[in-house]
Amino acid sequence: MTKIFETPLYPYARHPDQDAAAPPRHKVVILGAGPVGLAAAIDLAQRGVPVVVLDENDRVSSGSRAICFAKRTLEILDRLGCGDVAVNTGVTWNKGRVFFDERDIFEFNLLPEDGHNRPAFINLQQYYLEQFLVERVQALAAEGKPVEIRGRNRVEAIGRHSDHVRLEIETPEGPYELHADWLIACDGANSPTRRMMGLDFVGRVFEDNFLIADVVMKADFPTERWFWFDPPFNRGQSALLHRQPDNVWRIDLQLGWDIDREAEKHPDRVIPRLKAMLGEDVAFGLEWVSIYTFQCRRMEKFRHGRVLFAGDAAHQVSPFGARGANSGLQDTDNLCWKLALVLDGRAPEDLLDSYDWERVYGADENIMNSTRATEFITPKSEISRVFRDAVLDLASQHDFARPLVNSGRLSVPCIYDDGPLNSDDCAGLPARTRPGAPLPDAPLADGWLLGALGQGFSLLAIDTDCSDAAQRFGVDVLTLNAQDNPLLAERYLGTQSGAVYLVRPDHHVAARWPDYDAAAVETALRRATCAHGGLNV
């Protein structure tokens, strides 16, 4: 059977742009058709912004790569029209289990509360997600949306100008040139765009190697994330087991620093390691093997004039915590509505500086969390190992020590506290829905809160009303009743009897009040769009 990653999904085809007398001008060009670039393309296309995606390849990535997609990412995928197919294909899980030495020491639940449409996580091979995103792009194009992917188009040079970016592109049929008002670089951790622009990528290298193997086997392990510290089958190191669709299991084995990387990738070395873990009698096949080291680093700025960096191109983290692809999708979710407003002349370019502020903030939080997890998992001094083992020993008997066990703090969206787009807060409303926070989902009589929101700014009027706001500001108004909805009341009202929330297109709270005040809403909308003159959201 041909695997999806062996099939060209967007094969090279000659485009009229290649025969144009002068370089054609495009509104937005995206470099890289990975999950982040494709998500950006879909988001912009859904907003009616014409977009061209260039990728040097013509197919989805091989190997499972990013496999854990967090609830927030699934909620973003819902807005991009891919949430159902991802969840239906993926393996849903909420629980993790931690082992130390030969003992099962405890389990934890990543979604300990009800009232969310989406689970804490699904596991899904990256190539499936990319396939679904490519199919969504193609469906949008078939509906007449201005979006296309050009395969085997490799950018060789970038010229930066005050009002556009110039791209020299190589194809199987020779070079051509494009001009773009805006360029979004989603070209991965080794970003050629970053290199061609001579920008730095500063951070920390961790001196460790991890063997990553996708194993095909029929096994009856539960659908949980299993993490081992110092197991008998990988002494002094760590191990991870995760279920993916199609009876594929992800296994990560820490190998240490001084190894022969090429030799360790060989099946003669890999298979005995896996047998030691899974048992001699378990029949399995190897689908993909790789050895990785990792780094935690980011660019100093994600916006460089008309070039915007997103995903691994802008920031890189260790894999513990699933904060790579998940944070990349939060980048484009943050960026695309802003870019669409700027391109429409409805917000000034300054709005894009808030992308830089907010997503640098997010990247720093992700880097901090993944650095801490890495230091716990791979202690680098005798005393840090002594403390690590003491925490694990205590955690096997005492609940208090379990929050100290760090096998990866799994991706949750960050709260943009003190963010440049935030306005008023109101005492008595719950802390979790303060300005800068992502909206937590809640059940409604006929569906889910997040599913009821549109593409633009929204006002939530809970047990109060916003009379003229829809007409006055052109925002969507969602009037909700929390009287018979305790989860909605708990997440959005706290001790107040009513509330009005101004919600950004990316579902972060911009401001909130105990009741509707048109002047305050206008001020908050201006701030959330950096509007200097007329307000037109």
Binding site: R372, S381, E382, I383, L394, Q397, D399, F400, L404, R409
Partner: protein
């Protein structure tokens, strides 16, 4: 006599752990051992309740040993 609190009591466990690791950064094992001893004595003085400290000593001692 109050009971030793073995429920979760740290608001930012990861932040505390990072600070704990940071004070040991760059120390030799002997220096770290000495720092740990001082730290235990400082915390014991702060707690003050000797019955409670006796419970803590036994809790630390009573963790089942791992097979060597």
């Amino acid at each position: 006599m109050s009971d030793l609190n073995l429920h979760r009591n740290l608001t930012d466990p990861d932040g505390f752990y990072a600070n704990l690791m940071a004070v040991h950064d760059g120390l030799s094992k002997a220096e770290s051992d000495a720092l740990n001893a001082r730290l235990i004595l400082i915390l014991a003085n702060h707690i003050g309740d000797e019955a409670l400290l006796a419970q803590a000593l036994h809790t630390a001692l009573d963790i089942a040993p791992r097979a060597e």
